[in-house]
């Protein structure tokens, strides 16, 4: 078993994470003005310069809004935040993760439909190769990553790059927590077999069938994943808080 790779965390990374938690937890509520940078920096025990780097990132993420001479205000991320917040939200909260899966299911079906209508011959061949890579994967983790590549290629086959970026966004939310969702991929051959009808329908250029197959596939996978995520007692899977 490979040693666990600890991602190196810079001071700014840690700081950004703590600030984000404080914001999402409501310690700094929406609309609220953050303490002055000098004060905040002292509070976290870092230089103002370092703090500013962290604030700058959070500002770009849509969580903060800074104005010269005034201060830094916490924004209501549900109103202005984009899908790039999903990775941090999904990592915090299984409710978000469940919602991501639901949307991934819907959009995955949409993508399969478009891909069936537009994929090139070359892309159809590439899809078959990538599917084979899933089947041949040496372990669950490799199968899981290979599966992602198939979906990426499906998105590419729509001919619409926005679908590719959306797929990236949803996977960015999913990949960091994928270890807890490996159940559907423990048997790579079986995982590939589940995925095969989608690839076949897309390769054959059958939009309706591709959409239906994708819906079946994503629903089945989601079920196994979320089932393995919840304690047998069965907490509610997706209770949108408030």
């Amino acid at each position: 078993m490979p040693v666990e790779i600890i991602a190196r965390q810079s001071v700014v990374d840690v700081l950004e994470h703590r600030l984000r938690e404080d914001i999402l937890d409501g310690t700094h509520g929406p609309g609220e003005l953050l303490p002055p940078e000098r004060e905040l920096a002292a509070g976290y025990g870092v230089t103002r310069t370092t703090l500013k780097h962290a604030l700058s990132r959070l500002e770009q993420a849509g969580l903060l809004s800074t104005r010269h001479g005034i201060g830094t205000r916490v924004r209501d991320f549900l109103r202005v935040g984009g899908a790039d917040l999903l990775p941090m939200l999904a990592a915090r909260d299984n409710g978000w993760l469940a919602e991501v899966f639901e949307v991934r299911g819907h959009i995955g079906a949409l993508i399969a439909r478009r891909a069936a209508g537009r994929r090139t011959v070359r892309q159809a061949r590439r899809l078959a190769e990538l599917l084979e890579a899933v089947a041949q994967a040496p372990d669950g983790d490799a199968a899981q990553l290979a599966d992602v590549e198939v979906h990426r290629e499906l998105a590419r086959a729509t001919g619409n790059r926005v679908y590719l970026l959306l797929t990236n966004t949803l996977f960015n939310a999913y990949l960091p927590v994928r270890a807890a969702l490996r159940a559907p991929f423990e048997d790579p051959a079986e995982a590939a077999a589940r995925l095969a009808p989608v690839v076949r329908a897309v390769a054959d250029g059958l939009p309706d069938e591709a959409e239906a197959a994708a819906t079946r596939y994503l629903r089945a996978t989601e079920k196994i994943m979320l089932g393995s995520l919840l304690p047998p007692g069965g907490a509610r899977p997706a209770a949108p808080r408030a």
Copy 2:
């Protein structure tokens, strides 16, 4: 006529913009190693600290990947970038904008379907109010913004917050360039009339009808928008300016 408000641009903003252009234009191609920070800062005539702020933002946006002791590498944003890149891409290139509209159409239909199935009574009432606000808008710009609020509420009515964030993302790409796409909203009453069937179907809880109505609405609006975007002579719609 109100004076044109010039958005204040900080040095970091300008620098970030220039760097991003240089990356998207291919001056710094994917996989390439950027020059050292000290050198880059000197080249742009700013302090290393300031440059680092700009780099830090681009890194978070997924365009760069920095490693201590090694350097800063340009990433292939089509592979790893998320949907949050859309605002900058759509602002640069009408091709991207057209793709955003296509996806917005597909996802808008999806959202209408889910909203019809799940909306609360309160949300149905709110939708009617927001639709009325479109009709009552004093001018095209106000109607356009009111229209956005209707779509936001539709996304909220799905009960899935991911749809709300996705909607935000797509609108974040659309709003900065909305002035060029005002044609469908010049007559607020007419714009509201086009949107009305969607709101009605959602309020009545009819998923199939809502999806169909949303598809019709978004397709019609898209047509007017993209049509107005092109000169009558008919230049190619999606010319990425090299």
